[in-house]
């Protein structure tokens, strides 16, 4: 019943258009994450779902009901705001009860719901405090609590963790998922942090420049990004891109460039509808690069990347190695190895079966 459908949604602010023909279906009870860099239109999309913004074109459906003309208060949605949007002049209890009072619930019912939610979030002790007297994490819980007491059909979260420190953020992620399972509402979660998207979403929507780029389970944009943007945006450190030339030898194919040579598996070679000699962009994820002795390049190792180390970032058990490959910058994730130093020449073996190929012009993936 509380599936959400966007059909051809467009949004203009005056002469600037921020959303272009967005189509999206969010299933009942699903935890959908909208991810994208700032300015990609993801928050606008969420606010359109909420009813805080009107659409300039297209339709929004809740279930099979068109809600374009239904104001936010009548949509049965609850929302958690980036800066929490708590009422500074009300206590925690009043903050949570405020929406219920508007719906004319009986007092004992309001009380029960607020206390249940507070118990679930571990803020029962602070019901009498004002938001100012709370820490960031506690405010976050109050904002969540305010949303869940409403027992809404749709649960909207606008970058709710962006104001928390890294440690709390991880903890709150789990908390939100737990709450979502408990309230069984459809949830739409906006974030610019792809780690959050990958770890939390049942499915994720990648937005860029006002358009929906890719929708699917978290592993899909990671494993099969539809274009260079999604490939570069999802995954940390980001995928490296190399401008190469495609070479075909019968049904075998490889790409090569200065310091680069990668052999493609037959399926991949078949997927690329270009003749030999064409320019393509190869994308290599850091975790798919293994360091090898320079001498083995071209011998044992048929697919490789060579370059000069620019920076080494130790990360405890691992390290990131930033390599300059004839001007292109690649990051490799390797075991810790103190022998690697800046300015040193290094070589990496690359598994050709996990390399992504993109059209130079359209930036679309060949898959």
């Amino acid at each position: 019943m509380s599936s959400i459908t966007l059909k051809g949604v467009e949004k203009h602010y005056g002469s600037t258009q921020v959303l272009f023909d967005c189509n999206l279906e969010i299933r009942d009870h699903e935890f959908m994450v909208i991810v994208g860099p700032s300015g990609s239109g993801k928050t606008t999309m969420l606010r359109i779902v909420a009813g805080l913004e009107s659409v300039t074109g297209g339709e929004v459906y809740f279930g099979d009901r068109i809600v374009n003309n239904v104001d936010v208060g009548d949509r049965d949605v609850a929302m958690v705001f980036q800066n929490y949007g708590l009422y500074p002049h009300m206590s925690v209890y009043e903050n949570m009860a405020f929406g219920l009072r508007r719906r004319k619930l009986p007092k004992p019912e309001i009380d029960r719901r607020v206390r249940d939610a507070a118990g679930m979030l571990g803020i029962s002790e602070m019901l009498k405090r004002r938001p100012k007297q709370l820490s960031g994490g506690q405010r976050q819980r109050v904002a969540l609590g305010r949303a869940i007491v409403r027992d809404p059909e749709v649960f909207l979260l606008d970058e709710p963790l962006s104001n928390l420190d890294a440690h709390l953020r991880v903890q709150m992620r789990a908390e939100i998922l737990r709450v979502h399972r408990a309230v069984t509402a459809t949830a739409v979660y906006v974030t610019h942090d792809q780690t959050e998207a990958l770890t939390m979403g049942d499915r994720i929507v990648v937005m860029h420049e006002g358009r929906v780029q890719q929708v699917g389970p978290p592993e899909e944009p990671y494993d099969r990004p539809v274009n260079r943007f999604v490939a570069g945006f999802i995954g940390t450190p980001a995928m490296g891109f190399l401008e190469c030339t495609l070479s075909r030898e019968g049904d075998r194919a490889h790409v090569e460039g200065p310091g680069v040579r990668i052999e493609l598996p037959p399926e991949a070679a078949a997927a690329v509808p270009l003749p030999g000699g064409s320019k393509v962009v190869a994308g290599v994820r850091p975790e798919h690069m293994d360091i090898v002795p320079a001498a083995s390049v071209g011998q044992d190792v048929r697919s490789y990347v060579t370059g000069v180390v620019e920076v080494v970032e130790p990360l405890g058990s691992e390290q990131y190695v930033l390599v300059d490959v004839s001007g292109a910058k690649l990051t490799a994730r390797t075991k810790r190895d103190s022998s690697i130093r800046p300015d040193q020449k290094v070589a990496f073996a690359v598994d050709g079966s996990v390399v992504h190929l993109f059209d130079t012009e359209t930036e679309k993936a060949f898959l």
């Binding site: 068109i66 809600v67 374009n68 003309n69 239904v70 009548d74």
Partner: protein, 450 residues
């Protein structure tokens, strides 16, 4: 697509809109609505339609006056009104206190707006300014001959009809402080009789009594000041305007302005002060000569609590010193009582004002006691005679009142006082030559009469 659903959904929104509009309307228009109700109060003048007042249907008279607005006279006028109401059970008097400075223009505005009082206290030019708007009822038919003295009545005559009943006479005279004169070596029994003598005496005072202001004259920019300064101009033969002819650019006017400038430059007078400013100074014997009305006595005594005997020993009053043009003069800035044409019960109005001005208890209990000014009766009763038998009031009656002249009061006077008094002020506060000041006054008057 289920459009009916969306229609249903939009209803509550519209309902809320309607509610909100009503809330807004209430909040926003409340002030205006409330304001529209506030019209009732000043309409009472029409209430008493019956011309014969009786205790069952009392007539209410609204009485605009400044006597009730001033600290000095307020208790007196209120007691007097109560007394009138006690002796005239059919008439109620509602006093509307308005300050002296404002009463003229306030009444004009109220007349223009069809909302004048029944009866009012006026004086000087204000009377004629109000009369010029056609607001005042002629009193000739009510007046019995022989009650009021003819000169006072003529002061209230406009276009051949008496429109203002003289309540009291209040001409300024030259007060002189005998104590200070004695201290300065002057003869306290021969006050200056000419401008020349005045200048000599002022010089003596200035030299001998450094802490004392030699002379007090009102040089404010208001019509009252032009009225009381007019006799000084006349002493020099000057008449700043007549009718709507500006006649200020004359040697006589220049002589007057030069005289005023000399007074100021020698430190004999201070500029831009109301006549009331000098009264507390007089109470401390800090001013030697004052051009002021009879009321000076009351104010001085109420400030320093002197007995009559002490006051009379201290002060004498005489006529304005004569100048190049001869004769001394003064103006009667007496207070007058008027009835508005608009009033529906003129008989009762007349009864009230006639009582105020002529009833012996009102004259002694208010006019003499509180205003310390002269009654306007042709033949004062012995009781009143005994009250005005003081050296000061006798001097006013016998010496000063006979010198009263009439001023060209009316709308032109209202337009004229600002240019003229501004000129006087610039004479006493700057060293601009009297000739160019006179020229400025002249052009200012011409401008004002346009």
């Amino acid at each position: 697509m289920l459009h009916p659903g969306s229609l249903n959904e939009s209803k509550p929104t519209r309902g809320r809109t309607r509610r909100s509009i009503s809330v807004l309307t209430v909040a926003g228009v409340l002030a205006l609505l409330a304001a529209a109700c506030g019209s009732s109060s000043p309409k009472s003048s029409n209430s008493g339609q019956g011309t014969t007042p009786s205790a069952q249907h009392p007539v209410t008279i609204t009485f605009a006056n400044w006597a009730d607005a001033e600290t000095a006279t307020r208790p007196g006028i209120e007691a007097t009104i109560s007394q009138f109401e006690a002796t005239h059970p059919g008439i109620k008097v509602v006093s509307q206190p308005i300050s002296f400075t404002d009463i003229g223009h306030t009444l004009i505005l109220r007349q223009q707006s069809g909302n004048p009082p029944d009866v009012a206290e006026l004086s000087g030019n204000d009377t004629f300014a109000v009369a010029a708007t056609g607001a005042l009822a002629p009193l000739d038919s009510y007046l019995k001959s022989g009650v009021y003295n003819a000169k006072a009545l003529s002061e209230g005559t406009y276009k051949g009809q008496v429109v203002a009943l003289p309540w009291n006479s209040n001409p300024p005279g030259l007060w002189y402080n005998k104590t200070l004169m004695t201290q300065a070596g002057l003869d306290p029994n021969s006050p200056p009789a000419t401008i020349t003598q005045l200048m000599t005496d002022l010089a003596t005072i200035k030299a001998k009594e450094p802490g004392v202001l030699p002379l007090g004259i009102d040089t404010t920019n208001r019509s009252f000041a032009l009225a009381v300064d007019w006799p000084w101009m006349k002493t020099f033969g000057a008449t700043p305007f007549s009718g709507s002819n500006a006649t200020a650019n004359t040697p006589q006017m220049q002589a007057f302005l030069g005289f005023m400038q000399t007074l100021a430059q020698k430190g004999y007078i201070t500029a831009n002060h109301k006549i009331g400013y000098y009264r507390p100074l007089a109470a401390q014997n800090k001013v030697a000569f004052v051009w002021d009305q009879p009321v000076l006595q009351g104010v001085v005594q109420s400030t320093n609590h002197e007995t009559d005997a002490q006051f009379f020993a201290n002060w004498g009053v005489t006529t304005l010193p004569t100048g190049p043009a001869g004769q001394a003069s003064t103006v009667d800035e007496g207070h007058q009582l008027v009835i508005f044409n608009h009033s529906a019960q003129k008989k009762a109005d007349w009864e009230f004002i006639n009582w105020l001005a002529s009833d012996p208890s009102a004259v002694t209990g208010y006019t003499i006691k509180y205003e310390s000014s002269l009654p306007t009766l042709a033949n004062p009763s012995p009781q009143i005679q005994s009250q005005i038998n003081t050296p000061i009031l006798q001097a006013f009656t016998n010496k000063i009142l006979p010198t009263v002249i009439q001023l060209p009061y009316g709308p032109n006077f209202s337009s004229a006082y600002t240019p003229i008094m501004a000129g006087v002020q610039s004479a006493v506060t700057s060293s601009t030559s009297p000739a160019s000041i006179a020229a400025n006054i002249q052009s200012g008057l011409q401008n004002a009469f346009k």
